[in-house]
Each structure stands twice: as C-alpha cells, then as structure tokens.
C-alpha cells in the first residue's frame, strides 16, 4: 500500500535563491539530496565568439556584462591582458586608482553576496544594511566613471579620466565609516544561533576536492589553502601593499562567511594604503591609436571577488582577437556544487548556492 521512491525535483531556473537563471535537477530521497544535475546555459550570449568580430576597444563594454556584480574586475583583467600582450606600461597613478576602485568593487560585490546569502537563509535585515552601504560605493563609482553597474571604467593603457575633485576624500570617509557598519553585520550574524545552525557543517568542501574541482577564491581559502593571485602572481601594484590572506579550517559555509568578511577588512586596508601612496601624474600611457597586438597568445589572471578570473587572447596581429577565452570563477566553482550538496537537505542547497557566490552572467557568458 505504501511505497517510497526517488523523486526528481526541478529547482529553478525561475527561483529567487538560485541567483539568476540556474536550474538544478535534484534527485531526492525524502528530504535528502542524493544526486544533482546542474543545468546552465539560460543566459548564454556567446560573448567569446562575439569578441572575435570586435576590435580591442569594443570588447571592454562586453566584459562588463560577464560578471555584472563585479564589473570592475572584468575590466581590469581584460585591459591588463591586452597590456601584457602589447607590453604597454601603465602610469603609476592609473595603477593606484585601478587598485582603489577594484578593491572597493570587491567590497561592493561581497556586500551583495552577504545580503543575498543571508536573505536566502532567512536573515532579511542584513540585506537592507548591505545594500545601503553598497549604495555609497556605487555613488563613488558613478562619480568616477559615470555608471553604476557596467562601468567600462578603464582603457587599454590607463584610465580615460582622472578621479573627480573631492573623490578621494569621499573614499576616505567610506573607509572610516565602513568598519562600524561591518561590525553591525557581525553582531547580527556571526553569533546568531539560527545562522550558526544553518551554516555550520553545511556544504563541506575539503581542500583536496576543492583543488581537484579547480575551485578558487574564498571557497578555496576557506578550505585552508592560502592561495590568492594577488600574492601568488602579483599583478598591477599589489606587491606594494600589506595585506593578509584569510583562511578557514572547517571547510564549511560558516568558514566561507568568515573568510569573506575578513576579505572586506583586508580590502579596506589596501584601499587605505593606496590612498596614502597615491602618486601624482598622468593617467594614460603611450598607446597607439589602433590597438594591433603582435602575433602571439597571452593568459593573465586577476583575483576577482569570486576567484581566479582569467583571460586568454590569441592574436594574429590584427585589430581583432583571433580567439578570446574567459576563465570565469563562477563557472568553475559551480562544478563543486553536486559534490557539496550530496547527502544534505534541500534547504541546505540554497545555502550552498549562496556560499558559492555565483553570478549567472559569469557562468554562462
């Protein structure tokens, strides 16, 4: 009369907790997840192919639309790759401003992660506070480059503009007020028993598995691997700043939360040092009018908020790339999801998607 059987459940693509159009096919045994199929491609725009028909200037607005939560990093990675390919030196002031904006972007991106991650788990208040502080950052970006989300803020060889007057003081003000605000999120979450219950021991990803899956960024560091592109292969002027790489021990969602919280503090430290050492001078280097890199190929990575963000360009000496490839951290990190949710409850799947901090624009490209 009674019988039990496995059940297939579709989660997404229209689901508020999948952070976009991600579809999961969960095979359930009661409430327990036994198998997961990750189905992607709902946001595929073919940017890599599109780049082959655009010249090097035109590609930058397209990189904005990959990881739209941290578009500054996509810009940074792309322009640095082209600069590496062509051997262009960027003026110091431009490098410093790039570091400041990029680290502020990391904080803004982590604020979106913290807000939505807490909202998924049920803590609604944090979401509003995070977006309130993110608003200050977006206003700063808007004053700097004119846009709030798709910045197109850098150019090959430097920056299109210097910072507007009074901008550095506004950044200093943010650096001053933000630690207090972060203390508030801490008070709301870090010791909260519901938060602990929902995150401790959930979505465990051990260091060995993380490396096997190619996971990078905070998810890898929470597993205890101290790998950060900014330290391992310093790009831009990152070798001049003092900062620590936070790592976790327990490899679970709670540790990834702690790692990201600490990363925001370290980003503030970098911004503070960059503001203090901001040199005067030009912001645009010597760049030929037509960008025509020599024949060759180049791979360059930057440490984005989600992990190692890589750009691979094959040039045949024309003003358009022959092949363009993005190593997007969200796509690689998402591979670990079936492994992390195996044997856990359906409600924990939401927590694990949140802790991976995926952006579907980055996953599908």
């Amino acid at each position: 009369m009674f019988r039990t059987e496995m059940m297939d459940i579709n989660m997404g693509p229209q689901h508020p907790s999948t952070h976009g159009v991600l579809r999961l096919k969960l095979l359930l045994d009661g409430e327990t997840v036994t198998d997961t199929d990750v189905l992607i491609g709902y946001l595929h725009r073919g940017v890599e192919k599109l780049c082959e028909s655009k010249n090097y200037h035109m590609i930058e607005p397209y990189t904005d639309r990959l990881d739209y939560v941290a578009a500054m990093y996509e810009n940074l990675g792309y322009v640095e790759t082209v600069e590496k390919l062509m051997g262009i030196t960027v003026p110091e002031r431009a490098e410093y401003i790039r570091v400041i904006t990029a680290e502020l972007q990391r904080i803004a991106s982590h604020l979106v992660w913290l807000g939505t991650h807490a909202l998924d788990i049920g803590a609604m208040t944090v979401f509003f506070y995070c977006f309130r502080e993110r608003e200050i950052l977006l206003d700063l970006f808007e004053a700097f480059c004119g846009a709030r989300l798709t910045y197109n803020a850098y150019r090959i060889g430097g920056l299109p503009w210097d910072v507007p007057p009074g901008w550095t003081d506004r950044v200093r003000h943010f650096v001053k007020i933000f630690p207090g605000r972060q203390q508030e999120y801490d008070t709301l979450l870090t010791k909260n028993r519901i938060w602990l219950g929902r995150t401790k021991g959930v979505g465990i990803l051990k260091a060995g598995d993380a490396i096997d899956f190619g996971v990078s960024g905070p998810c890898l560091r929470a597993a205890g691997v101290s790998y950060d592109v900014r330290k391992a292969h310093p790009y831009s002027v990152y070798d001049r700043f003092l900062f620590d790489i936070p790592t976790g021990e327990n490899c679970d969602t709670y540790d990834r939360y702690l790692v990201r919280m600490e990363e925001m503090r370290q980003s503030l430290r970098i911004v503070q040092q960059a503001l203090d050492g901001l040199p005067a001078g030009e912001v645009m280097g010597k760049v030929p009018k037509r960008i025509k890199p020599p024949v060759g190929e180049v791979y360059h990575t930057v440490e984005g908020p989600r992990g190692e963000l890589g750009f691979y360009i094959v040039s045949q000496g024309e003003d358009k790339p022959y092949r363009m490839r993005f190593r997007s951290p969200s796509f690689v990190n998402l591979q670990a999801l079936p492994h992390m949710v195996k044997g856990s409850l359906v409600a924990d799947v939401v927590a694990v998607i949140g802790t991976l901090d995926i952006v579907l624009g980055d996953v599908d490209r």
Binding site: I59, Y62, E135, A143, T150, T187
Partner: protein, 155 residues
C-alpha cells in the same frame, strides 16, 4: 565559563544584541528617494543616452562627420550619412541616427570625437526614454540635439 554559556543560551543574548542594532538603525536618516516625485542629483560624468550638441557660442554644428563614433560603437547603434560641403571644405551631415534600443551606454563614442574641447557627441543626463513602440527609439538628428520633452510627474 559554563554558566556564562548557559545564560547566553537561555537569555537569547545574541538575539537581543541583534535587536539593538536594528533599533539603532531606526533612527538613521533615510537614504531612499521617492522617485518619480523626487530624483537624485547626478555627478557630472553620469552616462545617460548619447546626444549631439552644437557649439554653445556660435550655434554652429560641431559634428564633422568623421565617422569615428560610428566605427568604435560596439553595438553598431550609430549611423551617419554625410556629403561634401558645397564649398569643398570638409563634409556636412545629412543624417545622424542613434538607435537607443541597441545603445549600451558605454561612452566609447565620446572618446575619439575630434572636436575638442567640446565634443560633438556627448553622454547626456537623460535617462527617461520609455516608449510604446520600437520606432520611437530610432532617434534622428533634430531630436538628438534638442532632446526629448521631459515629462513632469506630479503627485
């Protein structure tokens, strides 16, 4: 130590601390605005829709139809038709059209514009351009210079 942990558990201390944070935030000033009744002020570099402009002093057409903005546009939303001036010096515009449907507000078209210091094409502060049909997004030169009439919302 054990008693402290026990008390913390029974008295819900961490929850009361959280409540205290939310209570404090009740008295912070609001940061939201009641759009469309009030709008925020934009920084000078704000990138709205791209538009054309004339020389503010002489009122002459600034665009020299060099086609650089058309060439750099990543979405190919600008189309320019021009002819030789009757006096033989340079070119003059016949039509200049921007398809706002395609425009991605990247601001790349402003960079190469050769008419310095005032560029002929510029990123305006207009951002309200909802329409009922697709044709209304294909914007001709006259409208690019003068702008669209702004609808004033009243409560």
């Amino acid at each position: 130590m054990k008693i402290q942990a026990f008390l913390q558990k029974v008295l819900l201390l961490e929850l009361w601390q959280g409540m205290w944070v939310t209570l404090k935030n009740q008295f912070r000033p609001h940061i939201t605005v009641e759009y469309p009744k009030e709008t925020v002020e934009f920084p000078p570099r704000f990138r709205g829709v791209p538009r054309l402009r004339k020389d503010p002093q002489t009122g002459e057409e600034l665009c020299v139809s060099c086609l650089l903005c058309e060439a750099i546009c990543p979405t190919e939303c600008i189309s320019i038709v021009s002819e030789k001036r009757p006096d033989g010096k340079g070119k003059q515009l016949i039509s200049f059209t921007i398809n706002y449907e395609r425009c991605c507000f990247c601001g790349l078209c402003v960079d190469p514009c050769p008419t310095k210091p005032i560029t002929a094409i510029y990123m305006s502060h207009d951002y309200e351009f909802a329409g009922f049909d697709r044709d209304s997004y294909v914007t001709a030169r006259e409208e690019l210079v003068d702008g669209k009439p702004v609808k004033i919302y009243t409560s």
